[in-house]
Symmetry: C2
Subunit: 219 residues, 2 copies
């Protein structure tokens, strides 16, 4: 299934077998990740800013504050590339040339538009929160009207999108397999540690299950 | 110490206390990370590509293959923004507005130039390998002349650089501290799992210490 039609700009040319254009693969990567890198250009100079994101169907919501200066000048939106990368492991090959990394990434191109209505902004903030901290939204104080006004959110329609995935062991030159050195994959994953309770939490309140059992992988 | 002079483009305006401009902070982040996001623009459209990197002094080396089409057309180099981000934890505040993330990031602006000489290319590949896989270079087969020719490497001088760091507990509105909910930080770190030995490694060869004791944090 290739429900995201590859374009001249998203089609992978080098190593085309790593390219994926189906929403199932794309959404699985987006839903496991929570940090994206937003690229935009000002007078030819690109900027790449890390930020958290949320997804509602085929819409990506990103915090717009980092780009706020630019947004004020561009009523018709700003051309962006939003990239999400999950690192899955280091691939130790037998030659320097074939060392690699297992990863999954998604590249999204389009025009990011500021979210104007308070209703959509609230929906986006809920999407952010539930994307990064599933279970948290219902417990916390929702944004006030003033906070909503002070929050800058961008909407990017997911239309021109591709995923890139590398998995598996090293692929070495045939003659190098005889070398008597270790080769293989060292898996890597973003892993939670023990929660640190804020000093001002009232006594007797413990971290909830959505914190102690935090996991990015949906089961 | 601010040995990277802040510029109009790298000076943090929002939350200026999170900004750092000293090489010690910058290099510590760069040396712990190994994935960067490279941003460049083609006819106004930005692209953001994840790749590994190496550092030699005040020079960043990145794989150039992702940008090879562009490089062929630009003899005088390409304006890039290279961003490196380490995620340290999720900050659970008492209100949606104050949820945050603990992170350390470095933003590097400049002109990336193709490395032409075989000597510098070899030095860069060694820097990549030892940056991502410290201890590996001396054991593996070094690149052949043909592999060196087929490898595209870019050099970015580290001149216009800033770091951004958020640490510590949530900062809530004073009146929200009375809420009877948990708040605090969930630490996150990229953590190695058990090494997966490639099927074709000869019997009796075990993963070396630089794999089994892999750690990004220098002690």
């Amino acid at each position: 299934m290739t429900d995201f039609q590859p374009t001249e700009r998203t089609q992978l040319r080098r190593r085309p077998t790593r390219g994926h254009y189906d929403s199932e693969t794309v959404f699985r990567i987006l839903d496991e990740a929570f940090v994206c890198h937003v690229g935009f250009a000002v007078e030819g100079q690109p900027y790449v800013i890390p930020t958290t994101f949320g997804r509602v169907g085929r819409t990506l919501y990103i915090h717009g504050s980092a780009m706020s200066r630019m947004l004020r000048t561009l009523a018709d939106g700003v051309q962006v590339c939003v990239t999400v990368t999950l690192v899955d492991g280091l691939v130790f090959a037998r030659s320097a040339f074939h060392n690699s990394m297992n990863y999954r990434s998604v590249l999204m191109l389009g025009r990011a538009l500021p979210v104007e209505s308070s209703e959509e902004k609230l929906e986006a903030l809920q999407a952010f929160t539930e994307h990064v901290m599933p279970g948290r939204w219902k417990e916390i104080r929702p944004p006030t009207d003033q906070e909503l006004k002070g929050t800058s959110v961008l909407r990017l329609p997911l239309e021109e999108v591709s995923a890139k995935v590398r998995t598996g062991p090293p692929i070495d030159d045939e003659e190098d397999y005889a070398m008597r050195i270790w080769a293989g994959v060292l898996p890597l994953a973003l892993t939670p540690g023990a929660p640190l309770t804020d000093d001002r939490v009232p006594a007797g309140i413990h971290p909830p299950a959505y914190v102690t059992e935090y996991s990015r992988v949906k089961v």
